[in-house]
């Protein structure tokens, strides 16, 4: 009878993804390309927010592109393509999150050096995307006023790994009896010090602040 041997492995389970994401980030940042990973629950308005972002940046003559993860349809990709920006759909066929290699495969033939910003719209889900680094420099968590103020407390992991939060559909705040102070305090509780922008695609609120934030972040890459 041979005694069982213990092999101390002590390795990150998502090591393969982490390593690929790190090398992608190095490449993106060396090209002056700011990559943003957008995470939220379904229905927060990620696609509308991203489309407005693409339209506004293109209006300023800034080269942008987007990839969008979705379980089954390409509806979001078609909506985003109306902005005129290059858009790729990543159909996950049931997988609840994007992984770094999926992003890599879908942008392989793009001239990344010619882009200033690349946006990755993750699958609408507040849990699963948390652990997967996609090589982004900025992780944006979105929360809409229709979801209620306590979402950050219910999904602290995702808010905690984000760099900035956008509260969307702020034009509907009164109708939804949304308490922005409570929402901000809840985000602060799970991610102390994180910047929060209140936005509305419909009224245009907060969009300039968001674009200024992006420009400052991209400037930091140089």
């Amino acid at each position: 009878m041979i005694e069982p041997r213990i092999l101390e492995v002590r390795t990150k389970i998502l090591k393969k993804n982490d390593e690929l994401a790190r090398s992608m980030r190095r490449q993106f940042e060396s090209l002056g390309l700011l990559v943003v990973n957008m995470v939220s629950s379904p229905g927060t308005g990620k696609t509308a927010f991203l489309k407005e972002t693409l339209v506004r940046l293109r209006g300023r003559g800034i080269p942008v592109a987007a990839v969008v993860g979705d379980l089954e349809t390409d509806n979001d990709a078609r909506r985003l393509a109306e902005s005129g920006a290059p858009v790729r759909q990543i159909m996950t066929h049931g997988l609840c999150h994007l992984e770094a290699d999926m992003v890599q495969q879908h942008i392989a033939d793009w001239d990344l050096a010619g882009l200033h910003y690349l946006f990755i719209e993750n699958v609408g889900n507040l849990v699963c995307p948390t652990s997967w680094d996609l090589g982004e420099s900025v992780r944006l968590a979105l929360l809409s006023v229709t979801e209620g103020e306590d979402k950050p407390l219910k999904y602290p992991g995702l808010f905690n790994t984000s760099d900035i939060a956008a509260i969307t559909k702020i034009d509907l705040a009164a109708a939804c009896e949304f308490n922005r102070d409570v929402a901000r305090a809840n985000i602060e509780a799970v991610r102390p010090g994180m910047r929060i922008i209140e936005t509305s695609v419909r009224s245009g609120a907060g969009i300039d602040e968001w674009l200024d934030y992006l420009a400052a972040k991209r400037h930091e890459l140089a």
Partner: protein
């Protein structure tokens, strides 16, 4: 169900360890899972049972060490353990802190390897 992706990564990594060790079968896999990692343990166990089939881990027990969140308080100049993950505040002075020292773990800690061919 991102736990299935995690379980498949565990099985793949552990199988590679077995190959490097010259073969054998795994009797136990130990993971360290931080409370901030957003992993549901029951889903992970269920996913592990699916992912291990037909691999050297087919008969392996899954052991999960849950790692609590520890944060550094800039006011107290000390590390503390969070009782939950809804409020990153120091239990002593109430200061909010984003300086997380522990709790994001998603690690393959060790595997227990049995003999190559049972006699």
């Amino acid at each position: 169900m991102h736990e299935l992706s995690i379980a498949m990564n565990v099985v793949e990594m552990a199988s590679e360890q077995v190959r490097q060790a010259g073969g054998g079968s795994v009797s136990r896999v130990t993971l360290r899972i931080g409370r901030l990692s957003c992993v549901h343990q029951d889903s992970l166990r269920y996913s592990f049972e699916l992912a291990r089939e037909g691999t050297p881990l087919a008969g392996a027990e899954l052991r999960i060490i849950e790692v609590p969140v520890r944060v550094f308080c800039p006011t107290c100049q000390d590390e503390f353990e969070l009782p939950g993950i809804q409020r990153f505040a120091c239990p002593a002075c109430g200061t909010l802190s984003a300086d997380i020292r522990q709790g994001r773990e998603l690690d393959l800690e060790s595997i227990e390897l049995s003999e190559a061919t049972p006699s």
